[in-house]
Amino acid sequence: MIKSLKAAIVLFILLSVLTGVIYPAVVTGLAQLLFSQQANGSLINDSSGKVTGSRLIGQSFSSPGHFWGRPSATGPFPYNAGASSGSNLGPTNPALIEAVKTRIQALKDADPDNQAPIPVDLITSSGSGLDPHISPAAAEYQISRVAKAHDVKPEILRALIDANTEDRQWGFIGEPRVNVLTLNLAVDALH
């Protein structure tokens, strides 16, 4: 018993050092060496070198001149990247239906002439509350509003959307998606 207690304690310490100190330190060292951009949060720099956000973390957009992202359920404000969270609303919860109706109304108020059905990802909150993407359909739906706000032709915006769309990885994994932050940076750069 005493012998196995000693073995347990020493082995626990040794395995802790191996898997809890050496292993993460080696991964960090190699990660910083090989993939320093990704390992530090995939940050985007503008032309002057100033950080303007992360390619992988969405931001909240609500002005008519920007493409809007997925609704976010993080608190106390949407897209709080310091405290990720989903809404956890169940499918039959009246609060979910109310939230969806409010979001539909906001989209319609911002673009009253647009009668197209709204892509579902644009009115449902994401799992992380930080989803950087919307579906290509959700981007297409918003073209008329953004075009009016900037007084540009829809074709110009469509080209920007294409440039900021990632296809399924390797042609078949995952879903096609539009990066909202980089798209809006490109829209702002039109002027």
Partner: protein, 602 residues
């Protein structure tokens, strides 16, 4: 379902099965002490570990010594993780200056990680310092997985040995699992994940400017830091503008790799693998999902090799795969249909080339329906419990299937080691039942199954339902249990049932709406996790000891072959019958009622 959806699922299953044999072969050689390619590098480290800790690697243990070693080692793990959480404010690698964790939450998390459950009662980025994540949680991710694998190997030795009272050396099995299997795989996976965009840094959280300022309301605080109230007792709100976004980072990739490979599942961030910095791309998602089932699938082949008949391993893998695939093809369409309550609003939920459609609440755009639903099945089939979408927001039946997979006892792949030893318990029950039908003494892999083995197997099968149903009943009867429920109606009951199904089977996923970080749930779920881990592992080791002492019966005319399609069907039948009979009444009260309400409300 779209053709791309079918294609992605098939590629996943085929890749998994293709890797089972090579990895299974490798692990069998590791456990049989034979040389593997990594020996030159790792054998000196292994020898050094034994020398420093005074372990004689050639010393054999009886099952009782094996179990005691296992328990002592786990107790040390619980104490270490508890202490690290309580003291993290005074320890280094805490760049956000996070305070110590409350004692009930620290207890829950310590138990959760030591038992390989990884129920996540806390929110990672606002609770755990980098040191706690690495030296507490990552370490337990490794060793709790290794302990499960060790228990399995001890059971296998029970079948292969004869007339002996020993089943191996726990310290050796633990060390070799960690050193030769889990560490190399984790290192490779962690680096690939960083390449995809998972963060791995010791730097503090980054602050970046927002393009659009966000204004929001928050309670106004007085000079003493307490929220001010107006005359009516309501909090006074003030308007605040956020011009910056703080992005939580940290040494995530190293933790996530073993979290997936060791069927642990406790995330670095609150939303687990839904977080873009924990699971950034479809490829990272594919690899994380593959890692969940990789070792449990390969261990089936290891089992077959070690008992000297690989067909035995393939038969069990076939039973697991058939149930998994069947449930995938039920789950994906359920989520793809979407929410009927949104159909009457002008919302497009159809799957087209430019959107995944379906029930997107709580799901990420890059994963869409197919990869969110597939992950939900995979993570609950294995006792992994990591999520890439919020299960609480799934359709009622779409949420019920993951819950039922846990209730089956985490034997459809299950946890590393624990899944297969659980499934072997079901195989013992299956040969016993068929033995009764044909009037012969049941035997499995040449060992007679007698009253002692049956009693132990029955305990392992009965304890989890007792914990799940008893815990749920208790929680919904008392006010502190009900106060944590978030969604109204039948769905609220599902949240509680899901929590106990998860803790009572060492899974760890959650219907996240339930506020489980309370003294009541932290304590009760902690106890549930302890029961379902040790009241299974100890009887399994007891069976191992009992079997090792028996002689091997030669195959005769009355022997039921256990590698045939007939046995696969018998095994599937046993698992499903026990799971269905035990849990259908409880499921009827939650998800089934909600489903009927949902389709009736049209």
């Amino acid at each position: 379902m779209t053709s791309n959806s079918y294609f992605q699922i098939i590629v996943y299953i085929v890749t998994l099965l293709a890797l089972a044999k090579p990895l299974g072969w490798y692990m069998a050689r590791v456990y049989e002490g034979e040389s593997v390619g990594l020996n030159r590098l790792l054998a000196p480290i292994e020898t050094l570990i034994y020398r420093l800790s005074g372990v004689n690697p050639n010393e054999e243990m009886r099952w009782t010594d094996y179990a005691v070693s296992f328990l002592i080692f786990n107790l040390l793990g619980v104490l270490a993780v508890f202490a690290l959480q309580r003291l993290q404010a005074y320890l280094p690698f805490n760049p956000q200056s996070l305070p110590g964790v409350s004692s009930d939450s620290a207890f829950n998390t310590a138990v959760s990680f030591a038992t390989n459950t990884n129920w996540q009662g806390y929110s990672g980025e606002v609770t755990m310092s980098y040191l706690t994540q690495m030296l507490g949680l990552t370490v337990q991710n490794f060793v709790s997985a290794a302990a499960g694998m060790a228990t399995l190997v001890a059971l296998i030795r029970g079948f292969t040995r004869r007339n002996t009272d020993t089943i191996g050396n726990f310290w050796v099995d633990l060390t070799r699992s960690t050193l030769y299997i889990l560490m190399p795989l984790s290192l490779i996976l962690a680096l690939v994940l960083v390449g995809q965009g998972v963060v791995q840094t010791f730097s503090p959280y980054r602050s970046v400017p927002l393009i659009e300022t966000v204004s929001y309301e928050q309670p106004k605080l007085g000079a003493d830091g307490v929220a001010l109230q107006d005359a009516a007792g309501k909090p006074i709100m003030e308007s605040v503008e956020a011009k910056e976004q703080v992005i939580a980072v940290g040494p995530a990739a190293s933790q996530i790799a073993i979290k997936q490979l060791g069927t642990n599942g406790g995330g670095f961030f609150n939303v687990n693998s839904a977080h873009p910095l924990e699971n950034p791309t479809p490829l990272s998602n594919f690899l994380e999902m593959l890692s969940i089932l990789l070792i449990p699938a390969a261990l089936c082949y290891t089992f077959g090799m070690m008992v000297g008949d690989t067909r035995q391993g393939w038969a069990i893998l076939a039973a697991m795969t058939l149930i998994l695939v069947a449930l995938i093809f039920v789950e994906v369409p359920l989520e793809q249909i979407g929410n009927p309550a949104l159909a009457s609003l002008s919302v497009d939920q159809s799957a087209t080339v430019s959107q995944s459609g379906g029930n997107m609440e709580g799901k990420e755009t890059r994963f869409g329906i197919t990869n969110s639903a597939l992950w939900a099945i995979v993570t609950t089939a294995a006792s992994n419990g990591s999520v890439n979408a919020m299960h609480d927001s799934f359709t009622p039946i779409g949420g019920m299937i993951p819950m039922w997979l846990m209730q089956l006892g985490e034997v459809i792949f299950g946890g590393v080691g624990s899944g297969l030893y659980g499934m072997i318990m079901f195989a013992i029950v299956a040969v016993f039942v068929s033995g009764l039908m044909i009037g012969r003494t049941p035997e499995y892999l040449g060992k007679k199954i007698e009253a002692y083995e049956m009693k132990m197997a029955a305990i392992t099968i009965l304890i989890p339902p007792l914990v799940v149903l008893g815990g749920t009943a208790l929680a919904v009867m008392i006010d502190v249990g009900k106060a944590s429920v978030f969604n109204p109606g039948a769905h609220g009951f599902s949240e509680v049932l899901y929590a106990f199904s998860s803790a009572g089977n060492n899974n760890g996923s959650a219907f996240g709406g339930l506020s489980a970080n309370t003294p009541f749930y932290n304590s009760l779920l902690g106890v549930a996790m302890l029961f379902s881990r040790y009241w299974l592992a100890i009887p399994v080791l007891a069976i191992a000891g009992s079997l090792a002492a028996k002689k091997i019966v030669p195959v005769g005319l009355g022997t039921l072959p256990t590698h045939t399609p007939l046995f696969v069907a018998l095994l599937i039948g046993t698992v499903l019958m026990v799971g269905a009979l035990t849990f259908v009444p409880a499921l009827a009260l939650g998800p089934v009622v909600e489903h009927l309400q949902m389709i009736g409300a049209k």
